[in-house]
Every structure is written in structure tokens, then in C-alpha cells.
Amino acid sequence: MSKNFRRVGAALFATLTATALVACSSEQAPSDAGSDGGDAAAATDTIVLGFSQVGAESGWRAANTKSIQDTLTAENGFELKFSDAQQKQENQIQAIRSYIQQGVDVIAFSPVVETGWDAVLQEAKAANIPVILTDRAVDSTDDTLYESFIGSDFVLEGQMAGEWAVEQYDGEGYKAVELQGTTGAAPMIDRQQGFADAIAGSDIEVIDSQTGNFTRTEGKQVMEGFLQKYDDIDLVFAHNDDMGLGAIEAIEAAGKVPGEDIKIITVDAVKDGMQALADGKINYIVECNPLLGPDLAEIAKKVIAGEEVPKRIVVKDEAFDQEAAKEALPDRQY
């Protein structure tokens, strides 16, 4: 009995190894060809691009992933190798190493955190594989480690929100509360900074701020606390739509009218947020554009062709008031 088992096991093992070997070699073949031809005839050849995504933690991220997958297709001259790091830096480093070993033409990724990338990016540089950052930056003194960083300017987003508030409400002595994103996250720090800069000098005053962790449930809970604590809130600045949507629920439960009694400004412009804006419950949304696919494709092609690319590409973020939202809503992709 046990002998039989062992024999079956050995046979299974042999088969598995064989398949694995076949799989490896068959995978190796095209990517080898890709990297061989990569330098010489990149413009006509398929560009093999390895992309390591942060994860699938939000609707924004899902739209970002879809944009990349829909743009980097075979028709557009790309072979996309996509991996999801599930919010872990070590997974991302592993994915990048495997892309280096596979010899892809370009590596692109959205860093989970800002630090700790020097070693693996050095390896990519040594292997002559250009790296493009999307959405989030890395904190490295050596900026030759990557070709370009494509993403939104979070400070500017906060500024746009603040400037609109000043334009609309300056002179009325508005008292504002701020629903912050996850403490320490780049968008949270930068949006707070931008907003504070923009309202400096006006008579809008931020009377309290608290984190809502970018989620609806916590946004609602924090707003409930604020509404009990202060009777005179005029304005809410939420670092993303979801917290703003939570705040709407809290304001309605407190018997006030969101968008009228208490004005709301948010950042992101996901579909639910745009719907609330069109319904008059939110007053202004600054977009944080997740559709980075086309920019990434363009930069990747230029890098392979040996053209100069700017180190920083700021994705154009629009902003919507209620009228603009009604017009834009039917064509929104996310």
C-alpha cells in the first residue's frame, strides 16, 4: 500500500516537474525574445511591461487597475504582466525582482510605501530595465533610479478645494470641520496642507479635524461627533468622497440638509460622489484622476524609444460643481 503510494507520488512529482519545466521554458521564450529585440526594434515590437499594483483597496484603485489593463493591450502594442501586492511592500519587491528575472522591457508600479526601494531599483537599473512610478512617489535621494513619476498632485487638490471655498464663502465667517484620510498617508498630509494654504487669509476657519480613515462608516461616526460637539458647522472638507458620503448620512440624521445648511467639499470624484454632487448634497468635488493607463502607455513607449521624458508628470485633475456634475455624470467611467 505505502509502496504504491510512494510510486504514485513519485510519478506525480515527475509529471509536475516536467510541466513546470515546460511552463518555465515556454514562458521564458517570448520574454527573452522581447528583451533581445527590446533595445533594437522597440517601436515595432510588443513592449513587455510588468506592473505591480498596490492592491484592490478602494473603488478608486479598481478604476486605476481597469484603466491600466484596458490601455496596455496587445492591440496597443503591449504585453502586460500584472500583479497585485495586496498592500504589502515585500510582495511588490518580489514582483519587481521576478519582472527583472523575466527580462521585461519596462517595470511600472505604484509604491505601497515611500521608502525602502533603493536596493530593488538598483537591481532594475543594473539590468537596464527602466522603471516608471504611477500614483505614488518613492522617497529616494537617487532620482536616476526611475524614469518618471506619473500621478496627481495631492497638495494641488487640497488647494483647489480651498480656493473654491474661499471664492464662494469668504466674508461669511464660515466654520469648517475636516475629515482627514488615514493618518500619515501622503494624500492626507498633502490635501490638509493644500487646503490650509488656500484658506489662509480668508475668514474660513477650520475648527476641528479628525481622521475618518477614508471610509464611509468612520466618516459618518466622526461627523456625528462633530455635530453633537458644535452647533455652528457651515462647511465640511472631506479628504475623499467616501467620508463625505458618510458625513451626508450623519448630517441628514441630525435633521440638517447637506449641501444647504452644511456645505460639503470632497476629493476623488468617484461615481457615488458625483451622483451626490448632482443631487445637490455635495457642493464641490476635486477630481483625483485614476485613469493613468494612457499616460503610462505613452511614457513607456517614449522610454523604450530612447526619448527624454519629464521626471514628473502631473495628471490633470478637474473639479466639478453641481452643474458640471450633472453634465459629466452620464459619461463617467468610474
Binding site: T211, G225, G255
Partner: protein, 355 residues
């Protein structure tokens, strides 16, 4: 209702009997939190009537504690049998995802029939997930922490698949009633959670169920030999934990009318375990205290609102919460209490400070 603790080493007066009660320090902590809030903002405890229902911070606490109350209830029973359930947060996410996806695709999202069906499907699925955990633990014999870790890891993935990676949002007045509605002036969520809690308290203390659960927790083999169906009991508590988590997930989803597979009920298993521990139930199994869990949940819910009310900086919020929890658990720990009691006996003049 709560388990009695060992008699205090010092001469037990009436005061000693009160302070040595398992619930003494948790209740003190809760009262202290409420007092701190009231000092900071005198109107904290005031409740007014708004649009025909009660409105105020205490009502917010009661409503927001409902999901944790349900999850902690199931967790108490599981822990009493020496188990632990790490998958409750995942079940919360799945229940919300299933119900909202059903309502979102239904032809009439506002119909009561649609909403009841959605709730029914979500609850049956949650119960099945609980049964799955119970099967792994009681029949297959996997360690509870490992068995439920499987669902904890896989669950959010399942919820993501159901919502297709998006935050599912619906508009449905009947469904909104569950998490954000009021009945007789009180939040429906609170009534549901407290109702279930009361029912389980009644069943465990007025029937033999509670004793059987404790027997299994103290010694599964001995209780089996004594004729207790240990396997069925373990299976039942895991199934109930799943069911209650599902109900909690529905309340959470209904509160904001959105199913967020990533964030709904995130780390609620830790809050639930914390509430159980604050309430004086031993993680080693055996005795359990539902009234303790009740107080523990109220402490955690009050703590969340306290952070906003006192305007504690987000940077130190985790530290603030940890300090409060550490203080409560330390005050409860038998070792610390014995040390304090010894000092009190040596220097009787300080006994007031201890009390």
C-alpha cells in the same frame, strides 16, 4: 449573571465585595469616560427629540455599538468553549456585500419583499459560514484560531468578488431602517442588537445551555464523558457567531447604505475580543460573562466618540485608546488586584485610594 471571582485576600467587607466584583472596574471605566466627556462638554449626556426620535451623543453611542454588540456576543460564546473566531470581520463584509448586491440588482430595490429576501439570503449565508467554521473545529478537529483564519483570509476576497471590487451603493428606504431608522424613538439597530443579546442571555442563564457551554470550555473530554454533546455545542456556538456577525454586517451596511468589502468590519474581531476580555471572560474558556461583554462593548463605543468629542489628535488616537484599555484590563487583573490589596492591608490609610 457574571461569573463570581475568587474571594479577595483581605477582609471582605461590603465595599470589598463591590470592588472585587468582576464588573466593578469596567463599570468604573465606563462612568469615568462618560464623566470626562460631560466635563469637557456639559451637554454630552443631553438627549433631545428631533423629527420624532431621540437625538444626542448617548443615542449615537447606543446605535454605533450595535454591530460590535452582536459580534462580541457570538465571540463570548465561542471563547467560553475555549475557541476563538477570527473570521467575524470577514463574515460582516460578506453579509453586507451579498445583501446590497442583491438589492442593487433587484427590479424593485424599495420593496419590502426585496429587502427581506436580501436580509434572509445574507443571514442564511452567514449561518452557513459559521457552520463551516464549526465543522472544521468540532468535526475535523482543526485548532479554532487556524480554522477561522482560513475564512478570515478568504472572506474579504469573497466579498470583493461579490461586489466586483467596487463599493456597492443602494437607495432603499426599508433597508435603511435597519441601520439608521428609529422605532418608538429609539434606533432600530440598537433594538435589534439588544433584543438578540437579551434573548441569548435568557437562553444561556435560564436554561442549561450556559452551563453546558461552560462545561465544554472547562474540559471538553470530561464533559463529553459526562454525557454533554460537546461537538454539537461547539458547532452551535460557531454557527451562532457567524449568524450574529452577518446581522452586524447588515446593520453596518445599512448605516451608510454601502457595502465596502475592504473596510466593513475591518479589525472588528479584535474589538470584539477586547470587549470580551474587558468584560472579564477568560480566554482560557470555561466561565463567561455576557453582562461583562455588554459593558465592554459600551466602553469601546464610548471611547470612539470620546476621541472626537475631546478633539484628540489623530496622531495619538491609537495610543489614547490603548492606554484606556490597558488601564481597565490591569485594574481587573487578579495579580494587580492582589498586589494592591496587600498594600492596602499593610497601610490601611491608603485603602480608600484603592477602593
Amino acid at each position: 449573571m457574571s461569573a463570581t471571582s475568587a474571594p479577595p485576600p483581605r477582609t471582605a467587607g461590603r465595599l470589598g465585595a463591590v470592588t472585587s466584583h468582576t464588573l466593578f472596574w469596567p463599570v468604573v471605566a465606563l462612568v469615568a469616560l462618560l464623566a470626562a466627556n460631560t466635563i469637557f462638554r456639559p451637554s454630552f449626556l443631553s438627549v433631545s427629540v428631533l423629527n420624532g426620535h431621540l437625538f444626542g451623543s448617548p443615542i449615537d453611542i447606543l446605535r454605533n455599538c450595535a454591530p460590535l454588540m452582536l459580534v462580541a456576543l457570538g465571540m463570548t460564546l465561542v471563547i467560553a468553549t475555549r475557541g476563538i473566531d477570527l473570521s467575524v470581520g470577514a463574515v460582516v463584509a460578506i453579509a453586507g456585500a451579498v445583501a446590497l448586491s442583491f438589492i442593487a440588482t433587484a427590479p424593485e430595490p424599495e420593496a419590502i419583499g426585496t429587502v427581506l429576501t436580501a436580509i434572509g439570503i445574507a443571514l442564511v449565508l452567514s449561518l452557513l459560514l459559521g457552520v463551516w467554521n464549526g465543522f472544521l473545529v468540532s468535526v475535523v478537529g482543526v485548532q479554532p484560531i487556524i480554522a477561522t483564519l482560513i475564512l478570515m483570509t478568504a472572506g474579504r476576497g469573497i466579498a470583493m468578488l461579490i461586489t466586483q471590487g467596487q463599493i456597492t451603493t443602494v437607495t432603499s428606504a426599508p433597508f435603511k431602517t435597519l441601520g439608521a431608522g428609529f422605532w418608538l424613538g429609539l434606533p432600530v439597530a440598537t433594538l435589534v442588537a439588544f433584543g438578540v443579546f437579551g434573548l441569548v442571555s435568557f437562553l444561556t442563564r435560564r436554561t442549561a445551555l450556559g452551563m453546558l457551554v461552560e462545561a465544554v470550555g472547562i474540559n471538553p473530554s470530561a464533559s463529553r464523558l459526562a454525557g454533554v454533546q460537546a461537538r454539537t455545542i461547539v458547532w452551535t456556538v460557531f454557527a451562532l457567531a457567524g449568524l450574529f456577525s452577518g446581522l452586524a454586517g447588515l446593520i453596518l451596511a445599512s448605516n451608510v447604505m454601502a457595502a465596502d468589502a475592504n473596510n466593513a468590519g475591518l479589525f472588528i474581531e479584535l474589538d470584539a475580543i477586547l470587549a470580551v476580555v474587558i468584560g472579564g471572560t477568560s480566554l482560557a474558556g470555561g466561565k463567561f460573562s455576557l453582562s461583562g461583554t455588554f459593558v465592554g462593548v459600551l466602553i469601546i463605543a464610548t471611547l470612539t466618540l470620546t476621541v472626537t468629542n475631546l478633539g484628540i489628535s489623530p496622531l495619538v488616537t491609537p495610543l489614547f485608546k490603548a492606554l484606556v484599555v490597558a488601564a481597565v484590563t490591569l485594574a481587573q487583573s487578579p495579580v494587580v488586584r492582589r498586589k494592591l490589596a496587600e498594600r492596602a492591608v499593610r497601610r490601611p490609610s491608603t485603602s480608600k485610594a484603592v477602593a
